[in-house]
Amino acid sequence: MRREVRFSGFGGQGIILSTVILGRAAVMYDHKYAAQTQVYGPEARGGASMSAVIIDDEAILYPEVSVPDIFVIMSQEGFEKYGATARPDAIMILDSTLVHSRPGCTFYEIPATAEAKTTLGRDIVANIVMLGALVGYTHVVSEEALKKAILDSVPKGTEALNTKAMELGIAIAGGKKQP
């Protein structure tokens, strides 16, 4: 089944990395297909950041996300620009620390940035918390695959921190923690 996931937030939150991890998890460890794309703003930085990944059991033909099934929103501007038009049957996971608005679709509020800061001591891993929560809620990829993809992608020495962040996300979503 084709599932379209759109991430948005601001520069520096690791929005793009999140979709790369997700796509990687699907392809390398769940042996599915994935196509990851992103919006490159005006060449210089700043402003809203957006990235998307499509995950499917079959080869992905049309690679652009048109009507996302799942949203991960990590900033108010990101919500306004990319999340506000979510279809009623979509699922949205939002960082309640940073997003003030709420959509018309099903949504889950995750205080990812606050949690990352307080529980883990580093707000930089908020995106990994969100990834954990995303997988916890939607199972677009397996937890196992996500974990491996995270470990592939994060800087050396931060593996434990990131694993914890992921587990925290899964836990918040009500899933089981990794043993």
């Binding site: 790369v20 990687r24 042996h31 994935a34 196509a35 990851q36 060449e43 033909l61 690679p63």
Partner: protein
């Protein structure tokens, strides 16, 4: 084969394809959306005994690539529209001197600075006609990350075999997208036509391509962009010699059109046939996938130049060709020259792909 699975960006796949093909020299200048290729080569080439050099501009980039190629190295550059325009003079030089080289153009929205971060296919005619004078080149258009890898590697083989600049004409969507890719253990590596010492350096073989007299071997070859005889010596006022040289440069490519042709045919008995290359291929594939009940013809072209016009005849029932492109109908012009039935150009500008809905609507309107 111990091929392996990867999840790579298109641009990275192109760089890796080049490395696998034995590319030993990259001379480039950064430009969105091609820069990742240069960056990846900067990281990887030194470790493989190759050379990465960031030149002062694109004029110099392609020049350095041509220079490197004469030492026998497989050499390439990558750029996008504005840089591509700057390479035009030296691309003509490469064509005239029959220097193998690979040029990747990750197309973005033009003209001018235009839309630096958005996809387009607006440089397809430029790639064929952008340098002054008559000449011919080969252009390949990948439609997936896998093909970014495969066609880049193939480009090196073609460049060597035909001693001609070969273009990988891709676009921002394919270049920046990350996808699953199967990386083969090794890629085929055919060489340059052998030079027979003692023979004339620009005397062509039966396939109209002369042997490659690599620098540093003592052949003492003079290479010039002036009209030259088979010795390589300038001879710029002899009309017959010039005509024969230029005709050969074009013929060696055009006479190989069928050999170079790389396309897939879907539903050859269809009445309405899509023709696409590069990113729009993906949309057409989706349209066909979404409408299994409809007989939707599709000519999916990988070798765009020389254009495989003979493929049109494979669609015996064709009433119309529909050509979606991320430009104002550039290859559609070429198809109009050859097609016996109407050609519908479906241009799309602005950086987004045609949606499957849009294309299906065009098809349906003619059904």
């Amino acid at each position: 084969m111990t091929s392996r699975l990867e999840f790579w960006q298109g641009n990275i796949a192109s760089a890796e394809g080049a490395l696998a093909a034995g590319c030993r020299f990259f001379g480039g200048y950064p430009i969105t959306p091609s820069t990742e290729i240069a960056e990846h080569m900067a990281a990887k080439l030194p470790k493989r005994g190759g050379v990465f050099i960031q030149m002062e501009d694109e004029l110099a980039s392609i020049a350095s690539v041509i220079g490197a190629s004469w030492t026998g190295a497989r050499a390439m550059t990558a750029t996008s529209g504005p840089g591509f325009s700057l390479m035009m003079e030296n691309i003509g030089y490469a064509a005239m001197t029959e220097t193998p080289c690979v040029i990747v153009n990750v197309q973005r929205g033009g003209p001018s600075t235009g839309q630096p971060t958005m996809a387009a296919q607006g440089d397809m005619m430029q790639c064929r006609f952008g340098s002054h004078g008559d000449y011919a080149i080969i252009a390949l258009c990948p439609a997936s990350v896998q093909e970014m890898y495969d066609l880049t590697a193939k480009a090196f083989n073609l460049a060597d075999k035909y001693r001609v600049p070969v273009f990988l004409m891709t676009d921002e969507v394919i270049g920046h997208m990350r996808e699953r890719i199967i990386v083969p253990d090794a890629v085929e590596h055919t060489g340059r036509p052998a030079f027979v010492p003692g023979t004339l350096p620009f005397k062509p073989g039966a396939d109209l391509v002369p042997g490659f007299p690599e620098f540093g071997k003592g052949y003492g070859t003079h290479v010039t962009g002036l009209t030259h005889d088979e010795r390589g010596y300038p001879c710029a006022t002899n009309p017959g010699l010039h005509a024969a040289l230029v005709k050969r440069l074009v013929d060696k490519i055009e006479s190989a059109t069928q050999k170079l042709a790389d396309f897939d045919v879907v539903n050859p008995d269809a009445e309405q046939v899509f023709i696409a290359y590069g990113a729009p291929v993906r949309t057409v594939q989706q349209v066909i996938h979404d409408h299994p009940d409809r007989k939707i013809g599709f000519l999916r072209v990988r070798t765009v130049w020389p254009f495989p016009s003979h493929a049109l005849a494979l669609f015996k029932n064709a009433r119309r060709f529909i050509v979606p492109e991320l430009n104002l109908g550039q290859i559609a012009r070429e198809i109009e020259r050859h097609a016996k039935v109407p050609v519908t150009s479906v241009p799309k500008l602005g950086g987004e792909l045609h949606t499957p809905g849009e294309l299906y609507a065009v098809w349906e309107a003619g059904a």
